[in-house]
Symmetry: C2
Subunit: 306 residues, 2 copies
Amino acid sequence: MGILVVGSVAFDSIETPFGVAEDVLGGSATYFSTSASYFTDVSLVAVVGSDFPEEHEDFLRSRNIDLRGLSRSSGDTFRWKGRYGYDLNEAHTLETRLNVFESFRPSIPPEYADAEYLFLANIDPDLQMEVLKQVRNPRVVASDTMNFWISCKPESLKKVIGKVDILIINEAEARQLAREPNLVKAARSILSLGVGTLIIKRGEYGVLMFSRSSIFAAPAYPLENVFDPTGAGDTFAGGFMGYLANTGNISDAGIRQAIIFGSVMASFTVEDFSLNRLKSLDYRQIEERFRSLKAMTHFEGIPEPE
Amino acid sequence: MGILVVGSVAFDSIETPFGVAEDVLGGSATYFSTSASYFTDVSLVAVVGSDFPEEHEDFLRSRNIDLRGLSRSSGDTFRWKGRYGYDLNEAHTLETRLNVFESFRPSIPPEYADAEYLFLANIDPDLQMEVLKQVRNPRVVASDTMNFWISCKPESLKKVIGKVDILIINEAEARQLAREPNLVKAARSILSLGVGTLIIKRGEYGVLMFSRSSIFAAPAYPLENVFDPTGAGDTFAGGFMGYLANTGNISDAGIRQAIIFGSVMASFTVEDFSLNRLKSLDYRQIEERFRSLKAMTHFEGIPEPE
């Protein structure tokens, strides 16, 4: 089977210099699974409240996302309210209401326990660990986290990082986790926790990947219209894992291509609020941007020394 | 002949989280010409005061830099004092004493007037224009500028930009010049001023190049030790122009390679204060980092659509 993602489904309210959106569909598992669905089958484990409308479930189902792991609790769905200035790289949280997400204890349906690709979106590292125990023998596990868990549960987090294959975090989180301002040194220190591949997201500046034997630098797709960066990181992870699961190629070369597909998916997400741009996307458009990024990064080598 | 650069020679006093340096050799023309000297012959036009020691001239001469255009005025050499925090991308100016640089009126020695490659470092755009009039028929002219000239002499600056082939500025300057927060839109607006190629420097995030037909994204070389970013931009421009002049290849492919050589040169400069790292550099080390950047940015393409 394809990918299993455990994370949040939420309502987001967003202000950017270009507009506002109220209570629109959001959440890490939502962005991740919609993005990954362009490449492979996805199953989702998350929780929503009794206020979660049928139309959103219908949309996710229309993307062929398996919702048997989406539980419904009485109470309200997780709500996040944020604002971005012209520097769209940084979100300012205005309000977080965890609601039903506060008591989320992910229980993996037995039919998901053989997932080959697992993404642990940004949730409590203790819960990430519980998920790891419930998935029998995944081929690739990737995880995300955030500053809150780095500050509050560093030991739990480090245990999880030691057990996953790929950690996908942003630049500030990498520096905070390693307590090191230099990113190359920070990366080395994080790899020493036991994770094989570290992917550092740098927003509009692209992505840096570090493994024990390789460094890969990928630019972000240069965009003329960035409306709302919300979900870009989870969309990146979805495209990345989706492509890995689709090809089964987890070599360095495969990971590099997957990073480019992830970047392409994120470039679409930020062009509109919520998942609006992902809803109208066509696989040919994805491949077109992949080829553009290939052309934009190409330069001729020089002869090898004699 | 090779390259002519018109700019500043200065004493810098620098504080970074990693140390301090007092009255060390600096200035745009100094960094540019030293960097370019690894690729081609360079002639320099600048002014120093009576306090400028022989040893610095000896160093520049040892790099084969033609100093017939270095004039000596009575008074003190230009002095700049700056501080960097852990975010080494931004310099905080503590003090600027223009000294002899204040009355600098660049006069191009007749033997330089046939220069094929000309770099107008960051000086008053009216002076940049005067230099342009004195150089007969350059093949490639590149220029730099700064926020001060964008604010104070926008019309003069735009005239110069309309006459040069390549503009090399940083990200904030591009946004300020175009009065546009989106970098792709800003780039398009700057190209409409008449410049053929725009190179936007983004510090540790690398470089974006825009021309009418091409976009190129190059990462910075990931460094474990960044001591002092002073001079990185001029060192970049020196490596870039030096390689262009060396090969004579000003096609899109040639410009892309030159951008990588510029990035490599800048990566060395920031590893130590002043020009210290450039002084001990070996051309094989430059080529080695070029090849590393090639490997770090490579990913396999996907098949073309049928």
